[in-house]
């Protein structure tokens, strides 16, 4: 009887903290994921020996490694995804990807010594994990920007599906913007794609 009780207690101890531990562990792993990704990005931003086209290629690699780009692109289109035919979907995805790459490579060129520090994580409902971080500038004490990352598990690792800067979600912002373009053009996906092409051409011209 006593040994059975001992066994029960043993299993209770073994079992009880497990869910909490594993949750906590995936949170800590998610924090490390952001840590590693941001230090790689920092390396890239401070590497002055790269030509601008090489740099863009490296940025594209990093973006694809860290972000689930097709996921984000589909989220931005929301339920309007249904309106697109397979060919439009394909073109939309590649335009979206190219626009993000251009926008970010510009951010990298403007880099001026800011640092990022991961401050914690939160486990969300469904399968989302949030990593909380802050961007600060060692040279300017008034720079302290909150940047939060929304991640989904991806095999042994994670993928970023949204970035929230000072309470502004990049995904939601772009989703609302694209919804407005669609609404003003009679829900025509081809009009959206045309607007994206024009915008990309402008970004490319700017370099």
């Amino acid at each position: 009887m006593q040994s059975r009780l001992k066994l029960l207690v043993f299993f209770a101890i073994l079992w009880l903290p497990l869910p909490a531990y594993s949750d906590n562990q995936s949170g800590v792993r998610a924090e490390r994921f952001i840590d590693i990704l941001s230090s790689e990005a920092l390396k890239l931003a401070t590497n002055t020996s790269l030509s601008s086209s090489d740099r863009r290629r490296e940025i594209a690699k990093l973006l694809n490694q860290g972000f689930d780009m097709p996921w984000i692109a589909r989220f931005v289109l929301g339920r309007n995804w249904r309106l697109a035919n397979p060919q439009q979907r394909k073109e939309y995805l590649s335009l979206f990807q190219a626009m993000v790459e251009h926008t970010y490579s510009r951010q990298f060129t403007d880099y001026s010594g800011q640092k990022i520090s991961v401050v914690g994580h939160k486990i969300g409902k469904r399968k989302y994990i949030f990593v909380l971080s802050r961007i600060y500038d060692p040279n300017q004490s008034n720079v302290n920007i909150s940047v939060n990352w929304r991640l989904v598990p991806d095999g042994n690792s994670f993928k970023i599906v949204d970035v929230v800067i000072e309470g502004v979600s990049m995904g939601v912002t772009q989703r609302n913007e694209y919804a407005s373009v669609l609404q003003r053009n009679g829900n025509s996906i081809s009009a959206l794609i045309k607007a994206m092409r024009q915008s990309l051409a402008k970004l490319e011209k700017r370099g």
Binding site: W71, R74, F75, G78, R79, N80, W81, R82, L83, A84, N85, P86, M99, T103, R106, D110, K122, G124, K125, R126, K127, Y128, F130, L132, S141, N142, N144, S146, N148, R150, V161, D162, V164, E166, G167, V168, S169, G171, V172, T173, R175, N176, E177, Y178, A179, S180, V181, Q183, R184, N187, L192, A195, M196, S199, K202, L203, R206
Partner: protein, 280 residues
């Protein structure tokens, strides 16, 4: 920490919010749910004003900000920025109190008096961890549960909402600086303060605003959603709710998970030609 304060002073808030119930009822839906829908019944007028403001920016404000950035030395520009923040001090403290956040009110009062020694030119208080944090009556109303109401674009002043525009007027009268001097001196004071604020804001966010303008498919819609989200974050005072950018956005993401599961089925089917007019 702030939560604690709020709960301690809930009595004050409750009494204040009793006063606001009639207003609440008038506004039909009075809840704290974040509304990420556009709520923009005046969109055509707003777009016209947005265009006017944008032309003003490109024609006058942007060139002025460039000159300001290039010809005025850094320390003077940060002094100007500090004075503008200092002038908001009384408004911020009053709103801290109305929000029931006495701890923040205390810290902001200390901040105000400390920086008064240099007439706000030097932000000494920031070094003592009393950093600037804007609080306005629009946020206070938001905390009381008053919804933002329709989005509006104000000429010269930019994006706002019915609630925040009312807040602006209240804040103006709450601030003793608006009542100093002769009646004749007050309008020039307010006008020049607003102009200097605009140049200061444009120069501090120069690249971001230029980027936003050039990389948008629909700059108006982008500014509208950023404004909505930023205001909600300001009302939450940076406390990170699990959904990070308001309840509405979390629902969007949960909805998307459901949708992508459905979508796998939809992908197998040939694309339907019938238009789907569902909107978010």
């Amino acid at each position: 920490m702030r939560n604690l304060c709020v709960s301690i002073n809930l009595g004050v808030v409750r009494r204040l919010s009793l006063l606001l119930i009639p207003i609440c009822l008038g506004l039909s839906s009075c809840n704290n749910a974040v509304n990420l829908s556009n709520n923009d019944p005046f969109e055509p007028l707003n777009r016209t004003i947005f265009k006017f403001n944008d032309a003003l920016d490109q024609g006058i404000l942007r060139p002025t900000a460039i000159t300001y950035k290039n010809s005025v030395p850094d320390p003077i520009r940060s002094g100007v920025s500090n004075v503008l923040k200092w002038l908001q001090g009384p408004t911020i403290i009053t709103n801290d109190i109305m929000q029931g956040d006495l701890k923040q009110a205390q810290s902001d009062s200390m901040r105000f008096f400390m920086n008064t020694t240099s007439f706000g030119l030097i932000d000494a208080a920031a070094d003592f961890d009393m950093k600037y944090r804007k609080e306005d009556f629009g946020q206070t109303l938001g905390l009381y549960g008053i919804p933002a109401g329709p989005y509006i674009v104000l000429p010269f002043l930019g994006p706002s909402s019915v609630r925040d525009a009312v807040g602006r007027i209240v804040d103006h009268f709450l601030n003793p600086f608006s009542h100093i001097g002769s009646l004749n001196a007050r309008f020039p004071y307010t006008a020049s303060k607003n102009i200097i604020s605009a140049v200061n804001f444009r120069s501090e966010n120069f690249d971001q605003i230029d980027d936003l303008r050039s990389s948008s498919l629909d700059a108006y819609a982008k500014v509208r959603t950023i404004y909505r989200q930023q205001r909600q974050a300001a009302i939450n005072n940076g406390r990170v709710p699990i959904n990070l950018s308001g309840k509405g956005s979390s629902e969007l993401f949960d909805d998307h998970l459901t949708f992508t599961q459905e979508k796998k089925l939809a992908d197998l089917a040939p694309p339907t030609s019938k238009k789907n007019n569902e909107s978010e």
